[in-house]
């Protein structure tokens, strides 16, 4: 039997508003423990929440970017549970009247668009951070728990997709596209390592062609997209194996250890918690005014998905996707506008530039365009050096453009001859059809010339001489 995976995602994105969701404490990462707190976020007796207007506006903006309906009336609810990182013992969240619902993200792929439904997007407050104190650093055997309330009450948008995803790669690409959307809208840094973007994955499988929804498992704590894709793939395979062996998949949560990608996740059967949701009586319902919704809509530029589609008309889908989800496509268009070849520019940005880890905003596109255009004519070394500094203030490509590569055959031939003479065995094998050895010879020549040779010329000459 063929099996179809069914995947749904729940994503939490931390908004980078100035202040927290329900108090005036600074919303920021990295302060000394409990330095960004007040009676409200510490849940002192009598403290009351006051909603952050900007956080509501930004949630609406994200909802609009995800093609959601914006509620005319949205309500905050209390979600009740006891935990030391939850000081009121209820989280102010949204339940059956969220700010945004019924949206979709149309995701371009190499084979056309995939539409992934957005069930809802709502606003809620984040919990504090528990720090379990024990020599091992693990919860097990901890002798004490400390709580840092700096994160408590910071605004989170929770985005829940429909179970419209059917493979791990699509899940990964959706997460990347969503991340890029959130970052571009200026809502969040969405950094997985810092926890400003987190996601849970619900996975089930069903016989292909069926539309049933079988028991799902929830994957938690994966802090990279490729880690997630790997985890999803393994879980799909496991569930298929269970069914094929006549077993039953049980509802459980798989807790991954983000520091140990290869270790199997811890499995737990969480009892169905009764959160006793009820409308938060300390807050009044939110009625987003239409002028606010219009203002948010006007702040949204061309979204990443649309740009991938547009750029894929010029480049391959793959290149377009890498540029856009890497946040490089604006620089790419500027570099092309400044005269660089589109494909060359895309290659440079997607490879060397990414490796150099420079912010695209720091780059003067005109200088980068000069480099891209001269790439073949200057030494590899010069090009690599230039890329390291292309983000520096006042960067000038001119000195690097002077470091011409050696492309004169009369200069290269003696070196090539010497290399062939020094490696007779390899030369024999190449002549015998082992084409892969071409790289070896080119490499040797590059080494002899200290990286100054033009590899295309070297390529040609080596082939000729060993023909």
């Amino acid at each position: 039997m063929n099996w179809e995976p069914v995947i749904g995602l729940e994503i939490h994105v931390q908004l980078k508003t100035e202040t927290k969701l329900f108090c005036r404490c600074r919303n920021g990462f990295g302060g000394a423990p409990n330095s960004q707190t007040c009676p409200v976020c510490l849940a002192f007796p009598g403290a009351l929440p006051v909603p952050n207007r900007r956080a509501i506006e930004e949630t609406i903006k994200l909802g609009l970017a995800l093609d959601c309906e914006i509620a005319e009336r949205a309500v905050f609810h209390r979600k009740n549970y006891f935990y030391p990182d939850n000081p009121k013992a209820y989280q102010i969240s949204q339940y059956d009247e969220p700010l945004c619902a019924n949206g979709k993200l149309v995701m371009p792929t190499g084979d056309g668009d995939i539409t992934i439904g957005i069930h809802r997007a709502h606003l809620e407050e984040d919990a504090a951070k528990n720090v379990h104190v024990a020599a091992s650093g693990r919860i097990h055997g901890a002798t004490a728990t400390l709580v840092d309330f700096n994160r408590c009450g910071t605004p989170l948008v929770e985005i829940v997709t429909e179970p419209d995803i059917h493979d791990a790669e699509t899940a990964k690409r959706f997460l990347q596209l969503l991340r890029q959307t959130v970052v571009e809208l200026g809502l969040s840094d969405a950094e997985l390592e810092k926890g400003s973007m987190r996601f849970d994955v619900n996975v089930s499988v069903r016989p292909e062609g069926s539309d049933e929804l079988r028991t799902r498992t929830e994957l938690k704590n994966m802090n990279s997209f490729s880690f997630a894709a790997k985890g999803i793939e393994r879980e799909i395979a496991r569930q298929i194996r269970v069914y094929e062996e006549g077993g039953v998949v049980e509802q459980e949560t798989l807790h991954f250890d983000p520091t140990q990608e290869d270790s199997p996740p811890l499995r737990s059967k969480e009892e169905a918690q009764d959160y006793r949701y009820f409308p938060e009586p300390d807050l009044v319902p939110v009625h987003p005014p239409s002028d606010v919704v219009d203002r948010m809509r006007a702040e949204i530029g061309e979204l990443p998905g649309a740009r991938v589609r547009r750029i894929a008309d010029t480049l391959s889908f793959y290149d377009a996707d890498v540029l856009v989800t890497g946040g490089l496509d604006r620089l790419w268009s500027d570099v092309v506008a400044a005269g660089a070849d589109a494909k060359e520019a895309a290659n440079v940005l997607a490879n060397q530039f990414v490796a150099a880890d420079i912010s695209p905003d720091a780059v003067d596109a005109v200088q980068l365009a000069k480099l891209v255009a001269a790439r073949a004519e200057i030494t590899r070394e010069a090009f690599a050096d230039a890329l390291l500094h292309v983000g520096d203030a006042g960067f000038d490509a001119a000195p690097y453009l002077e470091r011409k590569a050696v492309s004169d055959a009369s200069e290269l031939d003696p070196i090539i001859d010497a290399v062939i003479a020094a490696n007779p065995g390899q030369a024999e094998q190449f002549r015998g059809g082992k084409e892969g050895l071409l790289g070896f010879f080119v490499g040797q020549v590059m080494k002899e010339t200290g990286g100054k040779a033009d590899p295309r010329v070297v390529n040609e000459r080596v082939r000729e001489k060993l023909a």
């Binding site: 009676p39 510490l42 849940a43 002192f44 007796p45 009598g46 403290a47 009351l48 929440p49 006051v50 909603p51 209390r78 009740n80 006891f82 935990y83 030391p84 000081p87 009121k88 013992a89 209820y90 728990t145 709580v147 009764d274 006793r276 949701y277 009820f278 009586p281 300390d282 807050l283 009044v284």
Partner: protein, 463 residues
Amino acid sequence: MIDTLRLTAEGAKELLDKKEVSGAELFAAYAGREDEYNAFLHRCGDPGGDGIPIAIKDIIGTKGIPTTAGSKILENYVPVYDATVIANCKAHGLRILGKTNTDEFAMGSSTENSAYGPACNPWDLSRVPGGSGGGSAAAVSGGLAPWALGSDTGGSIKQPAALCGHVGLRPTYGTVSRYGVVSFASSLDQVGPVAKNVRDCAYLYSIISGRDANDSTTVDVPAVELPTAEDLKGLRIGVPKEMNGVAGIEPGVTAAVSRALELAESLGASVEECSLPRSVDYGVACYYLVAPAEASANLSRYDGVRYGLRVDGDDFREMIMRTRDAGFGDEPKRRIMIGTYALSSGYYDAYYGTAQKVRTVIRREHEELFQRFDVIVSPTSPTVAFPIGAKIDDPVAMYMNDVLTIPSCMAGLPGLNIPCGLSEGLPVGLQLIGPQFAENALFRMAHALEQAIGFDVVPERLR
């Protein structure tokens, strides 16, 4: 010689303005009086200045002054910030005499649920002062404070005012900030004034009311006018027949209320019978779903992690269970259980959901009456002050004390108690209910009636 039993806040202000007494003398006159009622849980030293002294119900957070909410779980809790109403009082120079006794988390009608022992009634020390604000009521009636702040969820200002024979206002929901006030039931809690007469009540209301940026449920409030009215010409009074015929109403209470209504007619008001059938029938049941549901969440923050009592355990779960078991008395536990049940999956619609619908019905029933009437009048409490211990073993009988005060609370409406006479030597309270934001109108009619009734607020045994 300052007569703290009789001196009003307005009178005190006059003495201070004319420099007939110093601020220190005035404060000392109250602070030096023995508390024979267990009215105060904590008395303060004179903070200096020459403003009018005031007593504060211990449910209201006061920076640097213990605030226990009448509970063991907050026994050593000292707030780091002032409630907005306290900040407002301080901005007017008011000086805190101390924190007054209350039923634990304001849950009760007799102050017997205080973890620090019951307060008693200055008219008869063997009787309750009402609750939950029995401490503030006893302090004002017993000459320990010229006025006080209380809080009212289902009658905790109005009912003690009735049982102790003075004036108390539960303001329109949303006119007084709840910021810094220990939450019991958020959609019902309101802070309000406890005073010896209507003018003081209005004055204190003017100090504490107004929109607060720290409480999203507050609204702008019309300017408060100190009442001078002496007649009730053109006033249309509705008297709901159900409220004057509830089970257990004492004949002496009915008689005193009837006399007050006759007086009102003689001052020019028209008095007509009307009906609030569903509000009276379902009000208490509805209240005892909504209030405990909200309380069950509001009281969950007392977990021993950040402040208040902590009883250690082997893990978080055990610590929190031991802490809450040791820290809460029977009544909060009872209400937490009722509220948790009412919100539980599978029961929500039948209990909390239905209660919210009934609440809408109650609100509409009142709105309809205010098409025809300016004010609705009834007894505040079906009985005069009852003996300490008489109802403590029967929670439902205790809950039924509030049958007359609860409906208008559920509707978010302002309600004011004025004393209207004695029955068996104990005060009887008259409840005036107005439409939303009609405080000024309530003050005017209450003031005119107060003048006509001429009730002596000093307990007979202290005269």
